[in-house]
Subunit: 254 residues, 4 copies
């Protein structure tokens, strides 16, 4: 039975590439995303076609028991979750305070903070009983500093970062590696940036900034760092790491 | 008509002392707390007796429209809210992840993060129209770093800190001063620390650490810094400040 | 005998204004600056004329024993240094790495970091023996993040910030209050910004950004916060505080 | 001609292991340390014996032109320095302020901050002309927070961290990858920790904390992360990463 890498938020960007990377290394990848069965199937098939092992679930993790049920099911039916990846964003676009509804603020928290708490609560007991496990958390610039028009996003991500530190404080000595990965820039991802900008603007941005100059973060490259984190020896674990394009400025410089 | 200082979370600790301090400087203090009408009345009376002006409200701000109604009512009936103080804690005591219920985690967010978002949403439009206003936010060690047994608290406070930065980014140039005040240590407060520890332990702690050695943060002294922040000229505003007892170690040293 | 407020780096900006503010509160201000006897005399006279007490020293503190001799002399002849203010900048303008000489980098350290170490070494023994004292350290954006063209300045200021924390860790429980004040923006100061920009550009900037919109930090307002810090009760001391103009962006947003 | 990995500070700990790791990947490792020719020769021989390529230099980099001469010589005679590793510590042990001499404080700066500035000044021009290069900087807890008895060390490392950010700001878009690696705990290294503690205490610590529980950072494991950093694609570079033993607490929790 293969060890499982469970990816919550597995589109064609970081999530799908991380799933793919771990599958190449011998994990069974369980991919979970909210919608787009077709897109999900494509990634699963791509992994299968290259000799990897994967399965997919369309699931709205905001629903009660959704995430919890998935974790229980995977542990019972598929294999031990050795690596869990929380890759859900909570970006709702730039909105002034007056335009940020209570609902939007709450959804930000549900995806940005509470979902991670639920995943850790569901997946850590089995990891603790096995004495090992890895939780990789995709995070964002918004975890490091607030910004105009980002009320929901930064509150959610600030909570996410502190939660990662709290989880680390309780669980690292029990063998669970928690890493908070700051994705500090735009990712070349059709399923997130692509949908936010629209196809045309996205392709223009890719041409202008991305393809020739490596000015957009390539998710397949991010996946290499995720895999490296999961292979770190427990005498030298990373809790926090940042990633950005060489031609971009870090969050403290813009 | 006096300018109003609205204090959300006004017990016998920082909240009540801040209310008292601003009342002495000519503000009408509106005190709001969840329970203990008797305790609230005592603080209001104390302010009245020393020549100040104050009124009190027992209100569970978690309830929908509670905070929003209070703000609307004060602006309509009492006076312009020039200073709003968000002083609600979200500490639920030390709890392992397994003992932190979804409910507790959500309540932490409602008090720690969402309540501040609601207050800012309610009170900023009038401040913007007047071209000035101050929002003073009591925060905690937990906003700066996660820690074991603090999953709910640190997630809530991490969100609070980032939200303060986002509010500042949108509103400081419109004349609204947002300050995030890190209370980095135990406060000599019967209504919070006293209730958490129980009377006996609290009095023992006061004897051992507080009274002779000034090793507990005195809320009346904190109130001086809150008042100073509210008087800063807009050419030299503070967004973040920390406070702790001289004999205590800052969060980065323990 | 009046208590002394010793200001290292006392031009017409923050230093002179802080000296003036403490003099108004009953301190004897000892002002120290590297050059411009005329400018120094003007500030001393201004303090005298308004009923305060002050004296001035032209001194290049980079010289061996200069700072040390001054401190010994003041303690012996003038009065107990209750408040020491380290207000020397280390900004050498924007310079690419290739244009930053070893000499410039070293001077940055001598003014930015080493001078503070020397001041603390000289002034703390007497403060410890008296069981109280305050060290207020003017710092800068450059203490919080590096930036292009700021190699010397940020290295010096990063060292300054960490040194302040180390001093605080050893001395706060002995009654010495160390505060690191982040001046996060341009100061309306003829002796520093004025000299850096030249008179014409400086006056244009003042017209455009400063005078009507309070977009330059007014040093007299900064002095109010310095004085507040020195009056904080030891149960509620601030170690770090930031200051910027309301219309400016904080360092994490630009 | 092999690309060169130049390691400044190459003892039996992180430096030597990093040299070894890069040599295994096809680099020629140039090792530089202040003393112990025998120890240096052993590491070089070990690399040679396992099929790698290395050379060693005993050099006191504090001496003028030492580092600069080495860089020029390597570039001219050995090969292009593709990776430079600055691995000099500046820890002088726990010393109260009164016991920290000016000399000790200055040496801390020379090793901790200035040496890195000199290395970057010497090695970046060739890297820029080639459009690529990597500078990996070993750093420490002391770069993140001050602490009692650490005046020299934290000032030096605080400067180091800010300098890394300044170098990154100027050079990342020119293809030079600068990474600041926070070694946040004790390293199982005979040449540094071993010498500081003495052989007996060091071996006792290794037995108690290290070998069974992986409670000391293993330098060979650190070297894996250094190598990973050097292989990151320029669309996804890390500037800052922390490393500690799973059983240890991060700097913000102790």
């Amino acid at each position: 039975m293969k060890p499982v890498c469970l990816v919550i938020g597995a589109g064609a960007g970081i999530g799908g590439n991380v799933a793919n990377r771990f599958a190449r290394e011998g994990y069974h990848a369980v991919l979970c995303r909210r919608s787009d069965t077709g897109g999900l199937d494509r990634i699963v098939k791509e992994i299968d076609d290259t000799g990897g092992s994967a399965s997919g679930h369309v699931l709205n993790i905001v629903e009660p028991d959704s995430l919890e049920g998935l974790v229980a099911n995977v542990e019972a039916e598929v294999g031990p979750i050795e690596v869990a990846v929380y890759n859900l964003g909570a970006q709702i676009g730039t909105k002034a305070l007056a335009d940020t509804s209570y609902k939007a603020f709450e959804v930000g928290w549900k995806l940005g903070t509470f979902g991670l708490f639920r995943l850790a609560s569901a997946v850590f007991p089995a990891m603790v009983s096995r004495g090992k496990g890895t939780l990789l958390v995709t995070s964002a610039t918004a975890a490091m500093r607030g910004n105009a028009g980002q009320h929901s996003h930064t509150a959610a991500m600030g909570g996410r970062r502190m939660l990662c530190q709290s989880l680390n404080a309780e669980f690292s000595s029990q063998g669970i590696h928690v890493a908070h990965v700051i994705i500090d820039g735009a990712v070349d991802s059709p399923d997130t940036l692509g949908k936010m900008l629209g196809r045309q603007k996205f392709e223009a941005l890719r041409k202008r900034q991305g393809m020739q100059h490596d000015g957009l973060i390539l998710p397949a490259e991010v996946a290499n760092t995720y895999y490296h984190l999961a292979t770190q020896h427990r005498s030298a674990w990373t809790h926090e790491v940042d990633l950005r394009a060489h031609s971009d400025r870090p969050w403290w410089n813009h």
